[in-house]
Subunit: 355 residues, 2 copies
Amino acid sequence: SKQYNIAVIPGDGTGPEVVAEGIKVLETVAEKCGFGLNFSYFPLGGDHYNATGEILSDKTLESLAASDAIYLGAIGHPDVKPGLLEKGILLSLRFHFDQYVNLRPVKLYEGVYTPLKDKGPEDIDFVVVRENTEGLYAGAGGSLKRGTPDEVAVQESINTRKGVERCIRFAFEYCRKRNKAKKLTLCGKTNVLTFAFDLWERTFNEVAKEYPDIETDYAHVDAICMWMVKNPEWFDVIVTDNMFGDIITDLAAMTQGGMGIAAGANINPEGVSMFEPIGGSAPKYTGKGIINPIAAISSAQLMLETLGEDKAASFIEKAVIKVLREDIKDVAAGKMGFTTQEVGDIVAEYIQKNF
Amino acid sequence: SKQYNIAVIPGDGTGPEVVAEGIKVLETVAEKCGFGLNFSYFPLGGDHYNATGEILSDKTLESLAASDAIYLGAIGHPDVKPGLLEKGILLSLRFHFDQYVNLRPVKLYEGVYTPLKDKGPEDIDFVVVRENTEGLYAGAGGSLKRGTPDEVAVQESINTRKGVERCIRFAFEYCRKRNKAKKLTLCGKTNVLTFAFDLWERTFNEVAKEYPDIETDYAHVDAICMWMVKNPEWFDVIVTDNMFGDIITDLAAMTQGGMGIAAGANINPEGVSMFEPIGGSAPKYTGKGIINPIAAISSAQLMLETLGEDKAASFIEKAVIKVLREDIKDVAAGKMGFTTQEVGDIVAEYIQKNF
Ligand SMILES: CC(C)[C@H](C(=O)O)[C@@H](O)C(=O)O
Ligand SMILES: CC(C)[C@H](C(=O)O)[C@@H](O)C(=O)O
């Protein structure tokens, strides 16, 4: 039977708690579907850094490179300077493995509270394809005369034709496969970021010619944010740059129920991809067993989809849908009516019994 | 009696329609309060550009410089390349007059529909202070090997200590004057934009020491967007850079009822400031008399506040509150139950009769 090597980075805070439930579900579904999963653990994160001074070693990168996928909990520690671990681990992994698409499905499941009025599951169902290796995340820039009244700080968004095109192409392909009205919206700011979005817009329009079956649309990032709360039903697939993608997917995540629900995938279609709930390490909930593991479980579903195990992935989604609709009282940490472990158990049991 | 010279740029699309109502209200309130307003008109915008090829001349800039304030309708024309007029007029004016603060009060008035569930006027009441002359709006950057597979497009965010500090200082001062819980939140992305927001954060923390009465807070822009739809009551005053300010104020505008309501001010406390509804030129509504003029009327209110005519400004606000609560059926264009002119009339009459 097929075997997959999964590198697990439980990470900081509540990361280990939610990852444990994801693995519980993965093991159940693998057994059902007849494939094998070998998990190896990597203790990256704040505690490891504080204990050893190591953030992310070449040796670790080599081991991760030998895996079929990476499954990550959360990165970020209250006793470490903000940004150090996020950049040193999370962003480093995205860049090192050239995971050029950050894929974030946004779906309001039945039974989940949305802060939007008059919107239901049929209205909130779209996907954001975020470029994940370029733009303002390049880390380019610098400071001149730092700490003086004359200081100038420059931050650069670097965009390459290759990087933009592969992301846009992925979005068109993804759009074609989606079982819904096929529309791809480019989210940019062509009227102000005239260099960066000139490249984006031109590339978008050129690639679009190869996909005559897909309707295309353009909107400025500011307008996208407005419509996302007023008319989310207008969206099908949205493609955008790294920074705008970061912003609009957090907004979108909130409309689908928040951090307890929102799953993400960092994808390199030809390499090692990484799957993570999009929430942070949530220090204040750590160790209490009250965090919602659904986002991590749905990220495991995205992992199986990317590995080509579609049937197994669909089992997870069906179980998640059932649990959200029938079991969990509220998706927020501490309000579920169950512990983190219990939610994992219910999902796993449902799969065990029903498929 | 005191006299003010107001330069009026009705601009494109529905701009002239809403500006006319703003002026109607301004004239009424000026008479009531005993000051004079002299309006001079400048025909900038798409039609003028198409007819004359002129975008914004030095002569016009000189005339505008001699005014006490600029009152602008909207810029943007369907027959002109997107960005040309926005950059050539709107952004040029903000930069030329060094209007370094873009001030956007966000207030849900009674009777106005918000797309947010379980939120009322007591929850949505904050102000965004957006830096308005720097950052990604500098227009800096370029393309290399444009149009080839090797193209690289760079867009730079340029931030100066002087520019950041004066904006942050304005925000603290504004916060102090606000008649509410006094909290100033810096909205940034310190964990990724490490050069730009290092300067912002350091400056914020330094200036904060001079304002011990004001509570300070920091949040990443992605988190701000989430909270803006889930917990808008957490905000009092938010200060941020140009690009993030653009994004979060459009989102915020939608929560307060949308483009028919949202007013904005481009402020240079020592120079000529400019006041504009934050919506665009709305070509599809142009000439129909159905656009909501309240955003323009409230922008006129901000103008009077900035000119120091607080009493007159408060009359406008009271009239707007009354009209939104009692008269208008819906704030959206075409759904008000009144024409654009009638809404202006009702506001003006209310002021005429009640103060
Ligand atoms: C933690 C941070 C660096 C990261 C990002 O900005 O990409 C996070 O917000 C996300 O969206 O995954
Ligand atoms: C029209 C555009 C250039 C402008 C901006 O981006 O500042 C607008 O969106 C605004 O917020 O006033």
